[in-house]
Amino acid sequence: MQRMKRVYAKPKAMTEVPFPYCPGCSHGTIHRLVAEVIDELEIADRAIGITSAGCSVRNWRQFDCDMVMALHGRGPAVATGLKRAQPDAVIFTYQGDGDMAAIGTAEIVHAASRCERITVIYVNNGVFGATGGQQAPTTLIGQPTTSYPAGRDPRTSGYPLKMAEMLSTVSPESYIARASVHNVKNIIKAKKAIRKAFLVQIKDSGFGLAEILAACPTNWRMDPVGCMDKIKSDVIAYYPLGEFSSQMKLNPEESLEQSEGENRDRPGTL
């Protein structure tokens, strides 16, 4: 019998612990992309992940590298202290939009302005997921949540925060991009963005942040496929995809656009 070539496997940087997430949640996809990047860059032995509060609070169980749990919103401050103490380590935070764009705004703005040599994986699904679907700073106009069931009204609760754009204005030495995981093509781009957000730290060229648009079927009260369609039609309309700040001069040819269709960058999961 012909021996079959293994073309797909669980990344090494991922533990055996099953994901605790709801069906259709994007965290699983994004976790896997992060783990694949850690594998490909061969940094599992010196990577330290920092968890945040929210649905991903327990992802210290998922990544097979040293992990530190941070308080709500404080990941970039913890990462700053840790990077100063362990400058050779590759430090990444994994934060949701409640964590980073609400309570942790000061920490992320100043970490970005210091061009702190850290990588931030910022998952934007537009709601507070773990607490039951309250409005986040990123909730779209008109989108109903448990705290504003009639939908977000900018007159009473303001406009959604565009963190990637905002941070790119204060962080001259950085790689800041927004990607999405609503289909295969975009998952490939998301992985590129995550890879570059790590590389900018590894090459000591700046601060790295990959904002990933994500779905929360449970709190959007939609089925997973409907969520993906919503990202494509509504979410991207407000949160345009692309690179907002790029210090990746080391690999100028390696842009998000050119990465499409390359087999070796095939994402692991949908």
């Binding site: 097979d64 590298c65 401050a77 000061a106």
Partner: protein, 363 residues
């Protein structure tokens, strides 16, 4: 600081005139502190600026954080990475650090946190006070956690006890608070610095630095299951009991035959001592008890003194009555207790404490 000269078999060390706030910084660097994250606030700025100047020279990192909240969380990160680290503030900023203190204690990360107390409440003013006693000894953050708290009373003690704080923090893997105040911070006194060994990098087994070829490590601030939570709290309780048992520190003066004892800590103890010595000269059987560890409170020693016959305690503190609660618990009804003190920036004169001693001794 070099050894200046040898006299007989005793080693005499050079002394240097230092502001209290600087003595804290010098003690910290001597103890191997290499990371300082802080935010400006009066009256601790001399410490902040001392670290800004001296820490880079010692090969360390100074970083001005965007808030005390960030500062204490940077401490959390640096401590997780195995560094000896410190932050400092005064009341309003110290309040913000409550969140980080409970996290450090929960994750069992060592750190030294200095509070140079100013008069509150609210934004208050920068005059000296001891009104953060309760905040330091009772928490400031949520949940059942406990910091060790040291209450120095001179520039020398600020130096020595800050140094000691780093050892205690590592020994118990717990945050240690050095509770100073504006008066101590601004006062200049000679400080001997050479008697404590200079500490360089320490290897901490539990610190994260990237797993390398070893199994991964996780610094956790939350348990995963209810069972783990109960187990976790049991372990912490055991540690806190051990701290309470082993880390009581105090100084007792003229207490053997004392009918009345003045209890005071920090800068107030310095002022009260003048009054006590004056009263002794006048023939009043008065002594002095100064807690050096504010948590754990030195209740064993104080209780022993009152059980041996001292009937009256006069608690003097620059607040509305915070430490007096610990004194009540310590003596457990075995002595009469009076309190003298105000919050809000009032500095005692030895004379008024003397008058209180005389008045109370006649009651």
């Amino acid at each position: 600081m070099k050894v200046a000269r040898q006299k007989k078999d005793r080693v005499i060390f050079e002394k240097k005139l230092m502001r209290g706030n600087e003595a804290i910084g010098a003690g910290a660097i001597r103890a191997g502190c290499r990371f300082f994250f802080g935010y400006p606030i009066t009256p601790q700025n001399e410490l902040f600026e001392y670290m800004a100047q001296m820490l880079p020279q010692a090969g360390g990192t100074f970083l001005q954080s965007e808030s005390e909240l960030s500062g204490i969380n940077m401490i959390y990160g640096a401590s997780a990475g195995g560094g000896r680290c410190m932050t400092s503030s005064s009341g309003p900023g110290f309040t913000l650090m409550g969140e980080g203190l409970t996290a450090l204690a929960t994750a069992q990360l060592p750190a030294v946190v200095v509070c140079v107390t100013r008069a509150g409440p609210g934004l208050g003013r920068i005059a000296s006070a001891q009104s953060d006693y309760r905040l330091a000894t009772r928490g400031g953050g949520h949940g059942d956690y406990q910091c060790l708290v040291l209450g120095p009373a001179s520039s020398q003690e600020l130096y020595d006890l800050t140094y000691k704080a780093f050892d205690l923090a590592d020994q118990y893997r717990n945050p240690v608070i050095v509770l100073s105040d504006a008066l101590l911070g601004q006062m200049m006194e000679p400080v001997a610095t050479g008697h404590l060994p200079r500490i360089k990098a320490l290897q901490k087994e539990w610190a994260v630095r990237g797993k390398g070829t070893n199994p991964r490590k996780v610094i956790k601030v939350a348990p995963h299951t209810d069972e783990e939570l109960i187990d976790w709290n049991r372990q912490l309780k055991k540690k806190y009991q051990m701290m309470k048992e082993n880390e009581q520190r105090h100084e007792a003066l003229l207490t053997k035959d004392a009918e009345l004892i003045v209890v005071a800590f920090g800068s107030t103890a310095r002022i009260a001592l003048d009054a006590v010595l004056h009263a002794r000269e006048e023939g009043i059987a008065v002594g002095m008890f100064r807690p050096i560890s504010l948590y754990p409170y030195p209740d064993k020693a104080l209780n022993k003194i009152t059980r041996q016959g001292t009937r009256k305690l006069l608690v003097v503190e620059a607040n509305n009555g915070q430490m007096v609660e610990d004194v009540r618990l310590a003596v457990d009804g075995s002595a009469e207790i009076a309190h003298y003190g105000f919050g809000g920036g009032y500095i005692f004169s030895p004379d008024e404490i003397y008058r209180e001693i005389v008045g109370y001794s006649k009651k």
